[in-house]
Every structure is written in structure tokens, then in C-alpha cells.
Amino acid sequence: MLDKQGIAKRIAKEIKDGYYVNLGIGIPTLVANYIPETMDVVLQSENGLLGMGPFPFEGEEDADVINAGKQTITMLPGSAIFDSAMSFGMIRARKVNLTILGAMEVSENGDIANWKIPGKMVKGMGGAMDLVASAENIIVAMQHVNKAGESKLLPQCSLPLTGVHCVKKIVTELGVFDVLPQGGFKLLERAPGVSVEEIIKATAGKLIVEGEIPEILI
């Protein structure tokens, strides 16, 4: 089974040299720690920055330099600043190559729910609806089951949707899955020590298992 760092490490392998990448809050943020230094990858923060760097050293925090999670960060050489409309303009125009975000539920046709739980205080969708509606390549990083032990990979989402037919790939603590255009979660890799049977048991949506499933290498 993978821990959060393991999920982030595996997702980092999806990033290619020259990519512009938007990382959501939570596990996706951790992905930045595993991008090989030999690669030229530019991180986009949707509050208006390309070239996001690591947290500042203590004493060097700048209130004017934050990421979309409102955390103090740094800007790498070659960074660019822009306003919020341009930021979502480049997202809508598919200039950002890869979007990695968390989810509460994903359906077998690629719908995603990650912003609202009925009966609970709604905080808002932020930029998530814009990102999922426009991004060319969306990878979801999440736990395979919720706190009640119920599968988060479903035939249909039960929570209010953030976007439809948009998720391309999912990485959970149990495995890696493609979301097929015709519907269904195709098991690509399983986490170390996890059997195919365990994955079948934890997946409520249509799961496609073909041939020998290799273990995730991280």
C-alpha cells in the first residue's frame, strides 16, 4: 500500500520535461517534491504565478508572494506574474499540460466531485470547476475509500459534481487506474503488497483487469 508520499511519488512519474503543471491542495502539493531536478517543469499557481518555488526560509516570507493555498512561497528565476483572468485564460486555452487534484469521488465515466457535501458548510469550488472543465490531462490523487470504508471509485458520483467526463487517470494508495473514454476504471498497476482481489473489493465502479498487473515502481 502507498502512503501519501508514495502516491505523490508515483504521480510525479507522469510529469514530462517541459510541462507546465497545476497542483491542487493536499497530496498534489507533495508531487512537487518528487519532480527530478534534471527536468524543466514550471508550476502554475492559479492566483497568478508561473514558476512557483519552495517555501521561503524563515524570516524571508513575503505577504505578496503566496500560492493558491494562501501559503507563503518563493518565485524561481524565470517566473511570471499575471492577473486572475489571464491565469484562468491560460487554463481554459489548454496551455497548462497537466492538472493534478484531489477528489471525494470519481465516477467510471470520469465525472469528479470534490467541492461540496450536502448538509455541511460549503466553502466553494475555488478554481476547481475551471480546471476540470478545461484541462487536457487531469490526474486525481486520492484515497481509494472514504472514512466510512466506502469506495470513492463509483459507477456514478453521489455528491454534487465539480465537472463531467474529465478525469483521465487516478492514483490511490492501492493502484493506478486509467479512466477509459467509453467508461470504466482500467487497472494499470497495483501498489506494493496489494492484490488484485483487494482492489476489486475496494472498487464500486466498473473495474477492468486485463492480464498480469505489475507492481508500482517508485
Binding site: L49, P56, K70, T72, F88, G89
Partner: protein
């Protein structure tokens, strides 16, 4: 062409009960904190506020919420504010949640003189309910109507007496698009300079969009999430 006013109190003097205001900033970053303080002091009520966030309990728009000055918030994300949550759950406060990119682009549309935009954000979700959907090249888009705000209040780093503005780092965020979108736009700046001191090539908001400008003193510029790296001990 002198747009300079004495301070926040004069800048907001004619903001009245029931008006619609745009307030720049992302979280607490690039927030027009001097004008917000003046609005709290003035005590105007029944306001509709268009702003990406609603501040925190004791800073930003949270201060106006505490005084019950806000009737409706139009935002993309409103977490981090207990008083906001209380008023929302008790029905005292109305909230319209809009995807962040849509929010920004509706400000931009107003500033560009366009009545509406088409965006894919929210298609197939509850955001699309009651909205016109158009299909372009096989993909569905929602028609969203541009904002109409009585005042836009923004914060810039530097500005000149003609209203030209320059922002700093990610404190830029919603400020330039909101500056373009108000019937009357108020800019508060950290440093007010004379015409000619800002390089025309470096202006982010041309002064034509700005009606009133003043230099604020002693900006608090509060940090919402202070995150740091530990320096390795040598």
C-alpha cells in the same frame, strides 16, 4: 487630471447602503485594507460584495461581516471564516458561489465592455442550473453575464496621481480586472508618485480606469498561511 483624495474616508464617502462593491485580493493578499477599515467605520449596510474570498474573522471582509454590513457575497471560496459560516447557516447572509475563473473573467468582461462570456466551467454541475448553454465545436459552454458594480476597490503597490497602477507579485490577482470593472474605481496604493515616475511600459492598470487614488499608511499585509523551510544548520 488629479485623482488624488486625502485618504480612505474621502475615497469611499459616497458608498451608500445597498450598493454592489468589487473588492480586490486573493485571500488576504493584495486586499484593499484601508478602504475596508473605512467602510467598517462608516457602517454602510446591505452591501453586495464581489470578492474571491470573504476574509478571515478579524481581517479583510470578515470585519465587515462582523458588523453585519454585507447582505450578499459573490465569491469562489469562502472558508476560513467562522462568523461567515454562522451568518450563512442562520440565513442572515446570502452567498453566490462562482468558479474562480468565471469570477475573474466576468470582471474582465465588464472592463472590456462585453455583456457576457461563454465558459465550460460548471457545465453539468449545479452552477449551470438556469443558465443558457451553447455548443461550440462539440463542447458545451455556459453563458455567464458580466458583473455590474457601483464601485471597484483595489490595492496596488505603486500608483501615480493620474491613476496609473503597478501591482507587486501575487498581490496582483483580481485587482487589475476589478479596477477595470467598477463604475467608480478606487485605488489604494503603498506608494503614490508623480506622473512620469512610473515607466509607461510597466503600467498594469492604465489610469483611465481609476477615478480616485490615495496612499495608505502602515500596511499590515497580514499573512494567512505562514509556511517556511528550515535552513540547514551549517
Amino acid at each position: 487630471m488629479n485623482k488624488v483624495v486625502s485618504g480612505a474616508d474621502e475615497a469611499i464617502r459616497d458608498i451608500a447602503d445597498g450598493m454592489t462593491l468589487m473588492l480586490g485580493g486573493f485571500g488576504l493578499c493584495g486586499l484593499p485594507e484601508k478602504c475596508i477599515a473605512a467602510l467598517v467605520k462608516k457602517g454602510v449596510k446591505e452591501l453586495t460584495c464581489i470578492s474571491n474570498n470573504a476574509g478571515v474573522d478579524d481581517f479583510g471582509i470578515g470585519l465587515m461581516l462582523k458588523q453585519r454590513q454585507v447582505k450578499k457575497m459573490i465569491s469562489s471560496y469562502v472558508g476560513e471564516n467562522a462568523e461567515f459560516e454562522r451568518q450563512l447557516l442562520s440565513g442572515e447572509l446570502e452567498v453566490e458561489l462562482i468558479p474562480q475563473g468565471t469570477l475573474a473573467t466576468l470582471c474582465m468582461a465588464a472592463g472590456y465592455g462585453m455583456p457576457a462570456i461563454f465558459t465550460p466551467a460548471g457545465v453539468g454541475t449545479e452552477v449551470a442550473i438556469g443558465k443558457e448553454i451553447r455548443n461550440f465545436s462539440g463542447k458545451d459552454y455556459l453563458m455567464e453575464m458580466a458583473f455590474d458594480a457601483d464601485f471597484a476597490i483595489v490595492k496596488a503597490w505603486k500608483g501615480d496621481t493620474m491613476g496609473n497602477l503597478v501591482y507587486r507579485s501575487t498581490a496582483r490577482n483580481f485587482n487589475p480586472v476589478m479596477a477595470m470593472a467598477g463604475k467608480i474605481t478606487i485605488a489604494e496604493v503603498e506608494e503614490l508618485v508623480q506622473p512620469g515616475e512610473l515607466d509607461p511600459d510597466h503600467i498594469h492598470t492604465p489610469g483611465i480606469y481609476v477615478h480616485r487614488i490615495f496612499q495608505g499608511e502602515n500596511y499590515e499585509k497580514r499573512i494567512e498561511q505562514r509556511t517556511v523551510r528550515i535552513r540547514e544548520q551549517g
